[in-house]
Symmetry: D2
Subunit: 236 residues, 4 copies
């Protein structure tokens, strides 16, 4: 059975999702990009026009357990999913006084909730298959709660706690659960337009994709649970 990878929460803010998909296609896996909106799907597929290998892009609400399970069921009929990359994130920078409970819930759902159904389905599936990799994408805010980051940091801390628990729960069943601490900005549209940061000071999407690939390829005697990654020029 051909192997497949799920990239849950693919986006176009940065060039990471297309770069990761491209890197994974080279491993002879089928690549599924799960996106929330039709528009994102079209933008992502545009990146792969005229390529020999292209990922599949599926619109699904990762917070809907039934939809997510049905999708993963149907993929599992044809493929053995051995990699899940959770990459869904919603950034939020705002004073605490401007945030209410609903904002906190929304940020939690976007950053953590989106990880639950797919992880639930795939962690067990991988354990039954004897192996697999699940990677969660963290940020500086995963380990440092800064001023004006109450909702975002709280959610990113939560995702890190989840990843640690699952690493300990599934490791001995062969599933490698890792958390990547992205301590920097990935080059792409948002870096350029919103943050106005130079490319040379950013994490390059293709190089980041290679780092994820290294994690996925780690043999069982040498697993990393938490990988920090930052540009040489980043203050930390």
């Amino acid at each position: 059975m051909k192997k497949a990878v799920i990239i849950a929460g693919a986006g176009t803010h940065s060039g990471f999702s297309p770069a990761l998909a491209e890197a994974l296609l080279k491993t002879e896996r089928e690549v599924f990009l799960l996106v929330r909106r039709e528009e994102t799907k079209h933008q992502l597929l545009t990146c792969f026009e005229n390529r020999t290998k292209t990922p599949r892009c599926v619109v699904v609400d990762l917070l809907k357990e039934r939809d997510t399970y049905q999708l993963l069921d149907s993929i599992s009929e044809e493929f053995q999913i051995d990699v899940l990359v959770h990459n869904a994130a919603r950034f939020k920078r705002a004073p605490f006084s401007e945030l209410g409970l609903l904002d906190f819930e929304e940020i939690w759902r976007a950053n953590v909730g989106t990880a639950i159904p797919a992880s639930n389905y795939l962690a067990e599936k991988m354990a039954q298959n004897g192996g697999g990799s699940i990677i969660y994408s963290g940020a500086t805010a995963s380990v440092r709660g800064g001023a004006n980051f109450s909702a975002f940091a709280s959610a990113k801390f939560a995702l890190r706690g989840l990843s640690q628990s699952l690493a300990r729960e599934y490791g001995k069943r062969g599933v490698h659960v890792a958390h990547v601490l992205l301590d920097g900005i990935i080059w792409g549209d948002r870096a350029q337009n919103s943050f106005g940061i130079a490319q040379g000071r950013c994490i390059q999407p293709e190089e980041l994709a290679s780092a994820y690939l290294s994690l996925i390829g780690q043999p069982t005697s040498c697993w990393t649970q938490e990988l920090d990654l930052r540009p040489a020029q980043e203050n930390f």
Copy 2:
């Protein structure tokens, strides 16, 4: 104006809430215990029968912003609330495979969501008043995601991230935000009946209350952001 303290999420699993209330009553503050259920209110008030000083106990759903705000508004008419202790928690130990998105949300809401409305209201109020203390109660799971603790650790990590952010956001406005890492079990009904642990190996409620009081009393030149507390006999 007389000062008041809010204990958000008072319970009877352990003897901590009554002990903390009693210790705070000695500081000449009015003490408000916010509880979720009528039954808990009665149990708590029973602890203070025939005492000279008694805390007030109010039933309120801390997840309801309007109710929480109205309650704090009415208390603020009479008192200057300068201390908030968030102590609401729901413990959960279960394999990830038995937990769905709804469980994660529920655990998040009980452990983190309950902190938002009251913190929102009081952090600003205290900053405007020039000072105050907000303490969140953490656990071993706040810094370590163990197997079968995915939902609980994730929520406790989130609360810790929130506390760090608020500490940095409100510290310079005079509000001391602290996080207590309780690395052990508080003596009380649950310790005795559910965990079957000896009293001598537990955190004593009265001594824990003193530790909270020390935090509240810290002068502005010597603030602790995170305080770990454990019995001498605890493995760590």
Copy 3:
């Protein structure tokens, strides 16, 4: 037998040693300030002129095991030493390229080596006596290795590792080992003359002394292993 406290590495850079001695004198303990130089001894004693209670000040090289042991032996004949505060420190800020192996050794010896003989003697003594407290004084550099802090951070990290090991080794024998993370500058001569920082942004010596006293006074059911302390105005 009257109790006594040892302050190993008392100095006059800041007002902390006199303040701590004064606070401890109020606990009815005999207070011994161990200093490296005669000059420091005279400066420290000057602080206590015309006071009813004064600490004793002894010149000793804490790196000399025999001298340290003899001193502690002779004190132990009269007193039960139940508190050791290790406060010897040498600050060093320099580019790595300007530091050689000898510098690293010197900084290690001043910050860590000075803790070994006294800790060795007293940890066992306290364990045999059924209890006691040992406190090590850390800094921001104990948990963060900054540029130009290679020697200092390396030594402070080492002291933290020592304190954790001893906490786990002696805790169950009744000896409370704690590490204080001083994330800020203590008010005193050096703060004023070398760092040029305002008093209001500094840790106040008397308030810091109170925090140490709180640690020393913690009951066995509620021990803190690591206590961070910083002024409200400190960036962190």
Copy 4:
């Protein structure tokens, strides 16, 4: 100029040094194994008999600055050293009561002191050459001070503090400084004979070598400062 790598503190307790040398030889670098004793040199060279490519093995006392500098000077005449792996370590497990100041110094010198002269020489050299990698080998004891590990943990904490400082000091000058947290036992003679642990529960030397190679190969936009590595079967 051909590139070269220095492995400072090569040993034969585990199979790591030969495996790392072999992996690095494939990158077309000249490989220098710096060992303390003639005997180790012969054992290491035996591993490479009848191989096409072999590392060079040099006996040097890494604590002697002059010797270390002269050696690196002479190597630098022929090669551009762009990688330093510090791997010298002395394990120590003993109750604190059995350790004196000299033991602490000795353990510090073996684990940390051995890193200073070579790092001093090469960090600057690499910065002047515009790039390079320095990797320090840590252990569980680098982040956790356990009972009976006072000397070892203290030294390993120190090495970690050094690595963090150098990472921040040299990163912007192009030198990638990383710290590897080996949370497990490397397969080899000691694992088999002293620890009696099964190969399947150990870190495999060849796979560990690959992880070091990945670190060395990281592009400047994606550097890891701290890499934890453990077998899937390890408790953590």
